[in-house]
């Protein structure tokens, strides 16, 4: 069984457009997780500040 046929080009040789634009999906899902993790890191920094202030 094959999932994505390689190599395939839709319009031009742009990497993100190769293989039926699957890398756009990869990047979109990656961006969502980067965003959420960035937020969680910010939250943790906030917690650390509270921790420091209550010492």
């Amino acid at each position: 069984m094959y999932f994505f046929q390689l190599p395939f080009v839709f319009i031009d040789n742009d990497f993100l457009r190769s293989t039926g634009k699957i890398y756009v999906v990869a990047l979109v899902s990656l961006l969502v997780w980067i965003g959420i993790i960035w937020y969680l890191i910010r939250l943790e920094k906030r917690l650390k500040e509270i921790d420091d202030q209550t010492k």
Binding site: M1, F8, I22, Y39
Partner: protein, 347 residues
Amino acid sequence: MLSWWKWAVILIMPYVILMGFLIPLGQGIVQMSPGTIKPGQFTEFKITGYNTKFASGGEIRAWLKHDDWHVQSQKIEVLNAREATLSFILPTFVDSTLSNVDLSLVMDTPDGPLVLPSAVNLNNIKGVIASESIANWSEDKLSPHIESNFNYPFRNVLGETIRNTYFHVPLWFAMVTLFGASVYFSIKFLRNKNIADDIRAESLVLVGVLFGILGTITGSLWAKYTWGSYWSFDVKQNMAAISLLIYGGYFLLKKSITDPDGKGRIGSIYNIFAFAISMPLIFIIPRRFDSLHPGNGGNPALGTQDLDNTMRLVFYPAVIAYILLGLWIAQITNRIKLIINKLNLSN
């Protein structure tokens, strides 16, 4: 011990990612050349498919179709799994008053039908009646095989990016839920003046805005590779941006007021109005205008054109998982904010 709905996030999220990426895309036709044809000429078209299995040996048929009228291909030569040549001789179009007719390519393979809308333009020169004996327009009903594979529908232009339905769209569902929940707590605050409720509302709005920003970023990336540019000033994009700015105002407003009671009261009222304004901006106004975004200009985004049954199997769990994840993050945010408030710490 984690509550059940957090376990739901942990279980559903991997399911969504795995199914979202691993279920194959259905077969489709990407390209057909040449793009114009004259009646009476013998034309050999080269077609390029995606996820097709032309070389598997089953019978392949092809038609050029306009409304109910179609002409069948005289000869089909398979080059490999994704490429084939189709030979057509087209007579002048039945309705000779039309000088230009857009023809769609319809193909039938053992794995199901293939359609390329507006594949060829027929230059219907008036007065020329050619090759009537070789090929004729027919109005017989086409009966291609039914698509039987377990896959996502192939749509031109979209291609594999149809999978973004599971990663971009649920962000907005989650955002609306979070904003809606924050309105509930804002109203609750206005009734009981319990500062904890105002903090709850603020946490929910904060995570809602995070999801909205992520939705806008992922949406514009998706747009770049389907609509052509990151920001095409589409109604949907503009209204989403305006809504996020309105919610940005919520935090500015709360920061600028020092009196804690006034902060809560004005913030809560602003939040209720922000919700009442932003929801029509995002979900109602774009429907009244032409928009590139599905679900606008009259077409419902959750209809069968945009979501088939295989997609629903992943899309609905994705929506649930994103909403619960948003609530989870909001809860953590809220706990930190409550501690800050309780200890009377700065910021």
